[in-house]
């Protein structure tokens, strides 16, 4: 296939890596955040929840533009911490950008899942000697599994597909910051429709496979005999 150029392959690899790393990062950051939101009784909670949804409201390219100003060579980070802190045009920069943009899609399902669990299972776990940390892993997370799956899927898929932010703070450097979505987009813009179709079809098929698998596994009986510890 003459259209799967080395640059395309690099883009595919980078995309998968970006989506995976972003999803993991989002789960790592989003989980405690969602947990805190689910349990907090602070009066300013609605404000924080609203703030978290804000990245959605800006067009990705515009958001990317502001992130570029923030993370770029003249940004406050660089002036504070020096050259090394310039995250734009690097993989970490891409991850941060994607993560900020997809954060709400991860936090919301998690928060709702955590809220739905209620107090009782945690109380039960505490009477069975499980520390809060322990309960979180052995009770909260397993019980919130549908929410965790939804969060991961939305975060992953959204990172696969979105490129406005990535383009802006990544600079579309082939092999370094060019992701698959931009590659497909370029094909469409360049009127190379056949190649765009192939790439898009490939991406869709792959995603369909992965997502179907995830959902199918998720569906399996949620019971486990053993208990993490």
């Amino acid at each position: 296939m003459d259209w799967l150029t080395p640059a395309d392959l690099a883009a595919i690899w980078l995309t998968l890596k970006l989506a995976a790393v972003t999803t993991v990062l989002l789960l790592v950051v989003g989980t405690p955040l969602a947990w805190w939101l689910a349990r907090s009784r602070l009066r300013c909670k609605p404000l924080i929840e609203a703030l978290l949804a804000l990245p959605l409201v800006l067009p990705p390219t515009v958001l990317g533009f502001y992130l570029l100003l923030l993370l770029g060579a003249n940004g406050p980070l660089v002036s504070l911490f020096g050259e090394g802190a310039q995250l734009a045009f690097s993989f970490p920069g891409l991850v941060i950008g994607s993560a900020i943009y997809s954060l709400p899609f991860v936090v919301q399902p998690l928060q709702n899942a955590f809220t739905a669990i209620g107090q009782r299972p945690l109380e039960v776990a505490a009477t069975l000697r499980a520390s809060p940390w322990d309960s979180f892993w052995s009770v909260v997370m397993p019980m919130a599994r549908p929410g965790v799956i939804a969060a991961a899927v939305l975060g992953f898929a959204h990172t696969l597909g979105e490129f406005g932010v990535v383009l802006m703070i990544g600079g579309n450097i082939p092999g370094k910051t060019q992701v698959l979505s931009i590659a497909i987009y370029d094909r469409v813009e360049a009127l190379e429709y056949a190649q765009a179709h192939w790439l898009a079809a490939g991406l869709l098929l792959f995603s369909l496979l992965v997502l179907t698998l995830v959902y199918a596994v998720n569906r399996r009986s949620p019971l486990s005999v053993g208990v993490v510890k």
Binding site: L68, N74, F89, G171, N172, Y185, V188, E189, A190, L191
Partner: protein
């Protein structure tokens, strides 16, 4: 009733000036629709209600004409873009472009060569500096279009960038009344001309009127003010 003019993003600033001038002269009103030329092309093919298409290249108008989507014989070049190597920093770019040969920069912004004529032109310039070719590719920031390439340089994220002269013209002048930073207007023989063509899509009289205005000396002088070269008359 205003007519809709699809305008290549890089030409928007000039288009706005043209619009103001045109509307002031006559009864017709126009609506500018900014966008990338590839997108506009796809939309026109699929029924977008545009009356005029001011493209960033000659290929897309040509295609439309071939496919019968354009008014036959309405196609013409309205401007020729000039490529500039620009840095936001003073004394960074010399007036011979030797900075490219030395290669002492971390990032160079260009527009995507596949999509944007300015990008392709920049690519050609770089290919002429064949010695540095391999090294460059990982230092190239590629904006989706020439505007993004400009943003990379403007925000200081790229030391250098190939941008359009028309963009530098819109910048606020520095204290000396000159273009801020340093730049090198790339000689025309280093790249294929960036010929921007227009084509009429509907037979709305206002569309014909605007295209006539575009070809008129009045229109041409506005275009020239924005840093474009003017096409040789009759060249299509």
């Amino acid at each position: 009733q205003a007519i809709d003019v699809a305008v290549a993003s890089n030409f928007m600033a000039a288009a706005k000036a043209l619009q103001a001038d045109f509307e002031q002269r006559g009864v017709h009103r126009i609506n500018l629709v900014a966008g990338s030329t590839g997108k506009h092309y796809a939309q026109i093919i699929n029924g977008a209600p545009f009356d005029i298409f001011l493209a960033a290249d000659r290929r897309r108008p040509q295609l439309l004409e071939q496919q019968g989507r354009a008014v036959q014989g309405s196609r013409f070049s309205y401007a020729i873009g000039q490529l500039v190597l620009w840095s936001a920093a003073e004394n960074s770019v010399d007036d011979k472009g030797r900075v490219l040969d030395v290669g002492e920069f971390k990032r160079l912004a260009i527009a995507n060569p596949k999509l944007a004529p300015y990008g392709r032109a920049a690519q050609q310039v770089l290919e002429n500096k064949a010695a540095l070719q391999g090294e460059y590719s990982s230092r190239l920031l590629r904006g989706e279009n020439i505007n993004q390439a400009f943003q990379f340089v403007h925000s200081g994220n790229a030391e250098l960038g190939f941008v359009a002269l028309s963009q530098l013209k819109t910048l606020a002048k520095n204290a000396n009344g000159e273009i801020p930073g340093s730049h090198w207007v790339v000689p025309n023989d280093l790249y294929d001309p960036i010929e921007q063509q227009a084509v009429q899509l509907s037979d709305d009289p206002a569309a014909s009127a605007f295209l006539r205005y575009l070809k008129s000396p009045a229109g041409q002088s506005v275009i020239a003010k924005f840093g474009y070269l003017l096409p040789v008359a009759g060249d299509t």
